[in-house]
């Protein structure tokens, strides 16, 4: 079981969700974030002072999938979120040791809808 952290552009969120549903990944968590990478600073002006906007709005998606689903999910995200310009974001993969479903109190059976 792996956890995927995908940091994407906010305007790509719905496209990514659509793509995830298509490959039957139906569980994920979305967190608004701000990020910084190679994308250039924007500059703002307020009351006669410039300032750097050194953080850009991003969306972080957290998705736990079974090992089999790892590559398809990553490809789906890249497919939907890529624009080719600085700031498209990153995907990081972590190992998950256990998963529980709070509703049942048991080990989670819904990852990739294994029960299907």
């Amino acid at each position: 079981m792996k956890r995927i952290d995908a940091i994407i552009r906010p305007e790509k969120l719905q496209a990514v969700i659509k793509e995830l549903r298509q490959i039957n990944v139906s569980g994920f968590t979305v967190i608004p974030a701000q990020g910084r990478g190679q994308q250039k600073d924007l500059h703002g002006v307020y009351r006669g002072h410039t300032y750097d906007i050194n953080l850009h709005s991003k969306i972080k998606l957290e998705i736990v999938v079974s090992n089999d689903f790892l590559q398809p999910t990553i490809q789906a995200i890249i497919g939907a979120a890529q624009t080719g310009r600085m700031g498209d974001g990153k995907i990081f993969v972590y190992d998950v040791e256990e998963a529980y479903n709070i509703r049942t109190g048991l080990v989670d059976e819904t990852i990739d809808e294994l029960n299907r």
Binding site: K40, V45, H49, T50, D52, I53
Partner: protein, 429 residues
């Protein structure tokens, strides 16, 4: 100063203040209905109305509207106001009207129009387009007025005009990115702040008492009280029918439709508030509140993207309100007296003004497109106009700013040139 002039003057000054306060209403309404990233920009457009628009009308437009008549088409020279009223008060009130017309446009082109293009539109609207067509109706000797057209406080002169200019410009500029899908279906863009929008609606409703009752320009008018009551009743009826229709059609009491239903009632009663009975005002309001919901659907079907519903509220209900005078006028209405003449005049008048607004706005829009450009770049649209055009987002919760550098006062220094390049770069790639 005679008591009569004093009374009229304070009446008109107070109602003018109410009319001008409506700009705050427009601003909050729009800032609440657009997406967060453009809330500052719509606010700044209202400031453009209040500043450039007002000065343009004061310096140029008011003369074309209320100057000495030429050929029943245009005024020029010294402003002629009512005799028993301070001319300054009259002028102030008329400024409020002119910028109301142009504020209607601002909502329909929100989230994508260049700020500079908007300023040009405002100046042209307040200097020429609005004064000319309004002279036809309200100017001494205007040809529509001579035909007997009745447009007490401007359902046609202001709302039809503004609404059809809005339609034309929303059409020329095209919809917001991703608003329509290839199959014509609509993506819902969530309004950023409904309580702000409703605050705007309450201010507009409040100001409308000044708008309609103030249009008497005479505190001694026997119908002044009736005008105020009719105005309120139409708004109440408009909101009520919008709630009922939205519950029936959508199974939801939609707040933005409720707001627009009340505003539609106000727009529709604006022409006839002095001429119709109170029960007619209620009927007009009820119809307007339902009409605005259908009209919103029509605009969507045309694939015109009007983020705040300005076309449905002001354009469609401006026309309806003007025709409603032809139906319900106590002395010459079709339904009340059986006479058809007034209705035909109203139809002609509102049609001509709609056409005038639509065509001239298409003209201005096309011209802008070919010259300074009318629409921001796609990247700016993604980023939002607040940061691109105004340097600051609307809401800043996080203390996220880094050190600033004070801009050299007195000259345009290098840093700025660089800054511009940076912005350009960050937008380009």
């Amino acid at each position: 100063m005679t008591t009569s002039v004093a009374l009229n003057t304070i009446w008109v000054v107070l109602t003018a203040a109410l009319v001008l306060f409506m700009e705050g209403g427009f601003s909050l309404l729009e800032a609440g209905l657009v997406r967060t990233k453009n809330a500052v920009n719509v606010t700044m457009k209202i400031f453009a109305d209040l500043t450039f628009g007002a000065l343009a009308f004061y310096l140029v437009g008011v003369h074309l509207l209320f100057g000495h008549d030429a050929l029943h088409i245009l005024g020029f020279g010294r402003v002629i106001g009512p005799s028993n009223l301070s001319l300054a008060a009259f002028t102030l009130f008329q400024i409020g009207f002119a910028i109301a017309a142009t504020s209607i446009i601002s909502g329909a082109v929100a989230e994508r129009m260049k700020f500079s293009a908007y300023i040009v539109i405002v100046i042209l609207t307040c200097s020429f387009i609005y004064p000319i067509s309004s002279h036809w109706i309200w100017g001494s000797g205007g040809w529509l007025g001579r035909l007997g057209m009745e447009d007490f406080a401007g359902s046609t002169a202001i709302h039809t005009l503004g609404g059809f200019m809005a339609l034309a410009l929303a059409f020329v500029i095209g919809p917001r990115k991703n608003r329509f899908n290839a199959d014509g279906s609509v993506n819902v863009f969530a309004p950023s702040n409904i309580p702000l929008a409703s605050a705007g609606a309450f201010i507009l409703w409040f100001g409308w008492f000044g708008f309609n009752a103030g249009s008497t320009l005479d505190a001694h008018s026997a119908v002044l009280g009736t005008i105020a009551l009719n105005t309120f009743l139409a708004a109440a009826a408009g909101g009520a029918s919008a709630i009922v229709v939205s519950v029936m059609k959508f199974r939801t009491a939609d707040p933005s439709m409720t707001i627009n239903g009340s505003l539609a009632g106000l727009v529709a009663i604006t022409a006839g508030c002095a001429y119709v009975a109170s029960w007619s005002a209620i009927l007009i309001g009820l119809t307007a509140g339902a009409l605005v919901i259908w009209a919103t659907g029509w605009v969507d079907k045309l694939r015109v993207d009007d983020p705040v519903g300005a076309v449905a509220v002001h354009g469609v209900n401006g026309v309806f309100g003007t025709l409603a005078v032809g139906l319900f006028d106590e002395k010459q209405g079709l339904l009340t007296t059986g006479h058809v003449h007034l209705l035909l005049v109203q139809l002609l008048g509102t049609f001509i003004v709609a056409l005038w607004g639509f065509v001239s706005a298409i003209g201005i829009g096309t011209l802008l497109k070919r010259t300074i450009g009318i629409r921001v770049s796609e990247d700016s649209e993604d980023e939002g106009m607040d940061i691109i055009a105004h340097g600051i987002p609307a809401y800043n919760e996080l203390e996220r700013f880094s050190e600033g550098s004070q801009i050299g006062f007195g000259y345009l220094d290098n840093m700025f040139m660089e800054r511009q390049k940076d912005v350009q770069n960050s937008l380009d790639g």
